[in-house]
Symmetry: C2
Subunit: 356 residues, 2 copies
């Protein structure tokens, strides 16, 4: 641990949502302080942070002051403007690195990176205009999904094409943003691997979890996932290949479709991931601590799973179920301190634990 | 949950040490914010709190402003001046209640309260002067321990009498503070029960832990403790009796000596307790969350133990062992963010977990 961040150092976190909140708690547990940078006032992470800057990502002076107040910078979401990264990186290191960010910020670049690594993805084609889309539909067929290349999450910026007739409306919904048409993948279920790579190149992965989405938003993650031993090994090796190729430092979420042809990479997220929340109550070291360990130069922690866990997201009005959930056995509650329960808003999650 | 503290409410915590720090994280997990009141600057809890007031307990204006900014007040240590409690209680409720505090603040009152409940304690006698001490030594004998009635912790304010000859020096060490002579108890080991009582009078206890002290400071807690089923039941019932007698709300630590004659109460602490830190990695709901649940009007959580755990305190220079501990399997690290590793100072703890 020669290059370990000294105890008491301040870690800067871009983004003050629930992921930043849980990263902040993990950083504290390892003896660090956090400084949250977030455009919106009173973000969830502010409740458990040492310092908070409320400023937009376009405020280069605020970014510079922030960067000077911290030892390293990390982030809880991938859509950080390049200009903001430039301003920060002039003063301190950013983990995970910018290559990982730039790849995950653009679905087209991401898919081509994965293909270059020899990994399987859904069939895809770039779509900048109606002619591209017509050609892509010809090649990939329907059903397929038109997605913006950038800034999509939780099913936003996505339009489904049931038949070629849907092409025009789908393209209009992209509002001239560069897009990508993705072919439909016949998969039996989705799993994800939460993997980490340390400053010294050590790689570790948590047991893959099985994800169920409802309305484009993650609903539950279950460990163990339904996978053969061979699939489990494939999933972990594939994640390691991605991390090593990027000389990645930190935790990454890798979403995979389980198909008859093998594991197909859906997308990668260069950060802690909702499908890794189960680790908080299933392992001695959770994904948030693993991320802090990686970026702070610690050895990776023991993420072996001591229990079976079902993680359930509490979305919007689900929060009203808390009084009943609070009486459940073997259930750990994690709320995010958000004032207003809007539809589709992640308000918290619960981990239901069964010792193995 | 009709009297439940609304989500987003601010919980005031007196004391910003590691207990306040871990209480603050638990409060956030349940959707609350915390405001720490602490005389010393930059306390451990400040790293994970919504707000911090730095002021002495004699500053009644600061106390009043603090009380007005929070919905309820709790505390991480028992030696809070009565005048401070008066100032706070004029504005908001304090949990656990003042009777519990006043009893635990004075070893003589505590022992007499426990005896009145029909529980066993060490033999004891009040000592205000040399005549009292001579009489007490006559009655109780040696070896015995002279302790200040108030403000002792971690072995401070205690003098051992190996023979009656030690009486004069021991009394001088009390510096005229009212004291109590406690007879020596022949015990095989010490256990503690971390128990909780809710606003509605529901009581729950974690599995008793077995404690080993070194130099008067807790070194390790091991669960399961060496106890027969009957002793385990006795320990939990005894703790429940204390909580109910005090109409207590919150978590209490009850230290017990295991002797041939049965369980003898050593002392009670009206707060979360170092010997309950194992619950963080051994249960779905830990002692910190249990305390917040109790004082916030939630039902008590499921504190059943899913794993065997050995908690080890990291004291003073023990912190230098972190690089080695960080590589251990099945080990969860909890550091307190204290800058300076002074001898006898609790810097953190680790929980070594073995699934049952």
């Amino acid at each position: 641990m020669t290059d370990t961040l000294p105890a008491g150092s301040v870690i800067g976190i871009l983004g003050g949502g629930q992921l930043g909140r849980m990263l902040s708690v993990a950083a504290a547990r390892l003896g660090y302080r956090t400084h949250i940078y977030e455009p919106m006032a009173n973000p969830p992470a502010a409740d458990v942070a040492h310092a908070v800057t409320t400023a937009p990502y376009e405020d280069l002076a605020a970014l510079e002051a922030f960067a000077k107040s911290v030892a390293i910078v990390t982030y809880e979401f991938e859509n950080i403007p390049t200009s903001a990264l430039d301003a920060l990186e002039a003063h301190c290191p950013i983990h995970p690195n910018r290559r990982a960010l730039s790849i995950s910020q653009d679905r087209l670049i991401e898919k081509s990176f994965l293909r270059d690594l020899g990994l399987m993805t859904a069939p895809y084609a770039a779509v900048d205009d109606a002619a591209d889309l017509a050609e892509a539909v010809e090649e990939i067929g329907t059903p397929s999904i038109l997605k913006t290349r950038r800034l999509g999450y939780d099913g936003k910026g996505q339009e489904r094409l049931k038949s070629p007739d849907d092409a025009e409306a789908a393209l209009a919904a992209m509002k001239d943003a560069p897009a990508i048409l993705e072919g439909f993948v016949e998969f039996s279920h989705e799993v994800s691997v939460i993997a980490a790579r340390s400053l010294t190149g050590e790689v570790a992965a948590f047991d893959p979890g099985e994800n169920v989405h409802v309305g484009g938003i993650l609903s539950t993650t279950t460990v163990p996932a339904r996978l053969t031993e061979a699939q489990r090994t494939d999933a972990v090796l594939l994640a390691a290949k991605i991390l090593n190729a990027l000389k990645y430092v930190g935790v990454m979420g890798v979403e995979l479709f389980v198909t008859k042809k093998g594991l197909i990479v859906n997308e990668i997220a260069p950060r802690v991931h909702n499908s890794g929340h189960w680790t908080q109550n299933g392992c001695a070291v959770d994904q948030f601590e693993q991320h802090i360990r990686a970026i702070a130069g610690w050895p990776l922690g023991d993420g072996s799973r001591h229990s079976d866990v079902v993680m359930e997201n509490l979305i919007g009005d689900d929060i009203a179920r808390i009084p009943a959930i609070a009486r459940e056995k073997h259930t750990a509650i994690h709320l995010y301190g958000k004032a207003e329960a809007r539809a589709g808003r992640k308000m918290g999650h619960v981990n239901r634990v069964t010792p193995r």
